[in-house]
């Protein structure tokens, strides 16, 4: 608990630094492309198109039944959740390699190393905010216009940031010590894409044994994706209606955060030795 508190304090103290560093990160990442920042939009759009083509059009899927009894076109429903994945996936992968790719550059700097994963996540957050804006505009042209339920969105976004930060504390530490962890993580994330209700709706799970359903629910990204959908499609007050799940989510974050801070603080003085 003490180490988690220390790590959080370090983040708050270095907020200006994290903001500036993430802007530079964004800049240096996109400066080589002629289309620059436009790729933040183009990339997801291509992916959404392919997923819709394969899982929607070719397999001839009908509309999706929502929590509140309404129906949504598959593509509308797909967009409302998948764009969160375009934040989670790169943030987790980049967060995991954030420390060992920068250690040479950063070792002698006067700022806490715990700020490294967070500025990488922040960089992705800018892109995510941008994409969120675009998705919300697109939604105005469908049957799902902005509603009061949208005020849940900042809450789930905060949840996503906390989730990414706590997980990255663990993965960045472990993959600095054992590089293979990063490879494992890439595989796990690829698996998670199919084990999270991104391409399929929850109703699909009715045919599977309930024990498996419970196991899938353990994945905190499940909660986030469902929460995003509930906010954007305006179906329900997700966090309140599923209060037990909300409690589980935050317990998960707290435990991961405490463990992550603990190992991060324990090993960070020796990161350079693991090069």
């Amino acid at each position: 608990m003490k180490s988690a508190w220390k790590v959080i304090q370090e983040q708050i103290k270095n907020l200006y630094l994290i903001r500036r560093l993430s802007l530079y990160e964004l800049k240096s990442e996109n400066s080589n492309n002629y289309l620059g920042m436009a790729w933040i939009i183009i990339n997801p759009m291509i992916q959404i198109f392919v997923y819709w083509l394969v899982f929607g059009y070719i397999s001839g899927r009908g509309d999706v039944l929502l929590e509140n009894g309404k129906h949504a076109h598959y593509i509308t429903w797909l967009i409302s959740g998948i764009f969160l994945w375009f934040f989670l996936q790169p943030a987790i992968i980049q967060g995991s390699r954030s420390i060992y790719t920068r250690i040479r550059f950063i070792a002698k700097m006067n700022f806490p190393m715990s700020a490294i994963p967070s500025y990488v996540i922040f960089e992705k957050l800018y892109q995510h905010l941008f994409l969120t804006g675009i998705i919300l505009v697109i939604m105005q042209f469908t049957a799902f216009k902005a509603s009061l339920y949208l005020i849940q969105l900042p809450y789930f976004m905060f949840g996503a940031i906390m989730f990414l930060f706590s997980v990255s504390l663990i993965t960045s530490t472990l993959s600095t010590i054992v590089r293979d962890v990063h490879q494992i993580l890439i595989s796990v994330m690829r698996m998670m894409f199919y084990l999270t209700p991104i391409l399929w709706e929850q109703a699909y799970l009715e045919k599977v044994p309930s024990i498996l359903r419970q196991v899938l629910l353990l994945n905190p990204m499940y909660y986030l994706i469902q929460g995003y959908r509930a906010s954007i499609l305006g179906t329900s007050w997700y966090a309140v209606n599923h209060s037990a799940y909300t409690v589980y989510f935050w317990c998960f974050i707290l435990i991961v955060l405490m463990f992550g801070s603990f190992i991060h603080l324990k090993f960070r003085d020796h990161f350079v030795d693991y090069l």
Binding site: R20, K27, I106, K108, H270
Partner: protein
Amino acid sequence: MEKSVIVKNVSKKYKMYTKNSEKLLDLILPKSYGKSFYALHDISFEAEKGDVIGIIGVNGSGKSTLSNIISGIIPPTSGTVQVNGEASLIAIQSGLKNELTGRENIELKCLMLGFNKKEIIALTPQIIDFADIGDFIDQPVKTYSSGMRSRLGFAISIHIDPDILVIDEALSVGDRTFADKCLDKMNEFKSRGKTIFFISHSIGQMKKFCEKALWVQYGHVEQYGLMSEVMPNYEAFINKYKKMSKAEKQQFKKEVEEKRMVQA
């Protein structure tokens, strides 16, 4: 005199793995496994405020490891380093980001060194002036020549005003005029009572600039004292080494290396 750096019994061990399986075993087994190499073995010395110490020694004797340890980049395996004040390392690879412009790199580095917005705004024109690379300051660093890069790196590091300055070969890429400019700046540091560690293979620069010398020989301190006392011995050693036949040289190297290798 006030001490600025106290290095006590410092050793730095590196693992020498020949196979990946050794790496794995070392990680899993509770006791360490495989051979280690002493980059530094039981180094002790003290530096006072205002000292300018030249670190001399042949390639691979641990000079850069020592400078990294003094400036706090890598932790020692055993022993203690006590640094009174802020230490800053200036090396050739100065950690500039290729994609960003010189100006952006200045802000980035200053931010990371813990300066606030106001201080950075005040420092930037001074740094640009010192680096003296003209319009290139707004071009990405990847387009720079190696000289320009080291000029920018040096300019940033010297303007952050550290108490202890460690210069690792950083002057060797710049031209004469820039080297002179840097030496002037370093003299100014000296007169303000700051400690400077200077690593260079230019014996001329060393003699001109440093008062003390620390001779590091294959991981241990061979001699530490005034430049005028240490340098003749070092030069004598170099000459002796040069005169050896090829077989003798190899024999000598092998012996030294064996001394630095230990099991686990």
